[in-house]
Amino acid sequence: MSGYDYDDLVRAARAQITEIGVPDLAARLDAPPLLVDVREPHEMATGVLPGAALVPRGALEKGIDHVAPDRDAEVVLYCTVGNRSALATLVLEQMGYTSVSSLAGGIAEWRASGLPVEMPLPGDDTARYARHLVLDEIGPEGQERLGGASVLVVGAGGLGSPAALYLAAAGVGTLTIADPDVVDVSNLQRQILHATSGIGTHKTDSAAAALARLNPGVVVRTRTVRLDASNAEEIAAGHDVVVDGTDSFPARYLLNDTALRLRIPLVHGSVLRFEGQVTVIDPYAGPCYRCVFPEPPPPGVSPSCAEAGVLGAVAGVVGSLQAVEAVKLILGAGEPLAGRLAVYDGLAGDLRVFTTARDPACPACGDPSAPPPLVDYDETCRPVRP
């Protein structure tokens, strides 16, 4: 039999690299070398060496530059017993690190020797966001931007659920969830923020609980009201991005006009059956929703989701795309879907992106000096006269 197994690789690595013993490292705790924990985030949660940087093995090659930009710095890698860190040490040597060693016996022997470990601080989200921190487009700076950002998600339904979950998981600092409804059993097929135990409770409360379970570091604000012309501006004001997860044309056109008035970017998403649409409205810079769809369809043409149905996972795709766009807007990364409409056809397995354009005669955004008035619309989006 040829080839090597894990034990062979570890043995070969340990024969090649430098190891440091627990007593030797403990003797240097006053002025320790740079300690790097290469375990998985869930392993780090039970304690790490004092002052250690947290760079899981899977993210090592990309992540090490952030914590040890100087290749001549003294670096000590550790894991549970010293096997993974031996393999990782070999990798860093290949990358040109000149003074890297592996802690023999790992944190297990460290603990067994009665030496101190520390809990990763609640505010230290290095492990939580490890897979973001190694991305060039995010990194520590981008993660901080996400933490300082606030996003309004209108509708805690089929689109708002995945969008809010991913934004909370991503560490967006403040999420406002606006929804007037209570959780119904028929929602649970697609509205993954809510659970069977939440039936009958306000969707905002159910959402806040789910988001806190996922990421207690996120501040969740709730607005248990239906968006209308009288409150839309006040609810949306102060947010960096608005995510449209509403389920009616009146709400969508109202949100479009609100975003224009406040000049807040709006991430539009909609679904029907197996199809969905996503676009970003960048007020007065790209087309608004009315530039693309000046009017809603007549009632006979456009059935509601209740009549037409929707595959839950299609709402998941579209809401997740909205979360991607919101994160991009916060980071200023990539190309937002502004001036473009993504159309997803789940049955065909097809995602196409169409170019849209501003309408110079658009009644909503044609004249930047005259933002559209906010009015309540009926289902055909004619203004409701009192």
Binding site: G155, G157, G158, L159, G160, D181, R190, Q191, D244, G245, T246, D247, S248, F249, R252, G269, S270, V271, L272, R273, F274, E275, G276, Q277, Y289, V292, F293, P294, E295, P296, P297, P298, V301, S302, P303, S304, C305, A308, V310, G312, A315, L341, V343, D345, A348, R352, V353, F354, T355, T356, A357, R358, D359
Partner: protein, 93 residues
């Protein structure tokens, strides 16, 4: 010249259920009218009485919004793809 007109689900009943219809025409308007001639319910969904495009529809020609090209007069080349797309309201609320 033959273009392919792609029909989203909610408009498919108007063309007998097809997802794509081949249509002859040298402009978007001609191609859509050809579909409407073959399927009269489609014509009433797409065209106003005066022959203009209904305002709830976006029409994309080879990926670009025809309303901001030359509208129904936008020329279509051989093998062009036309998508007729209404706004969708569903947020799966």
């Amino acid at each position: 010249m033959t273009a392919t007109v792609r029909i989203p689900t909610i408009l498919r009943p108007a063309v007998g259920g097809d997802a794509e219809v081949e249509a002859a025409g040298s402009t978007v308007g001609e191609a859509l009218r050809a579909v409407g001639d073959a399927h009269p319910p489609f014509a009433s969904l797409v065209f106003e009485r005066d022959g203009s495009l209904k305002r709830y529809l976006a029409v994309f020609v080879d990926g670009r919004d025809a309303r901001h090209l030359r509208g129904l007069d936008t020329p279509v080349g051989p093998g062009a793809e036309i998508l007729v797309l209404p706004a969708a309201s569903g947020g799966a609320g």
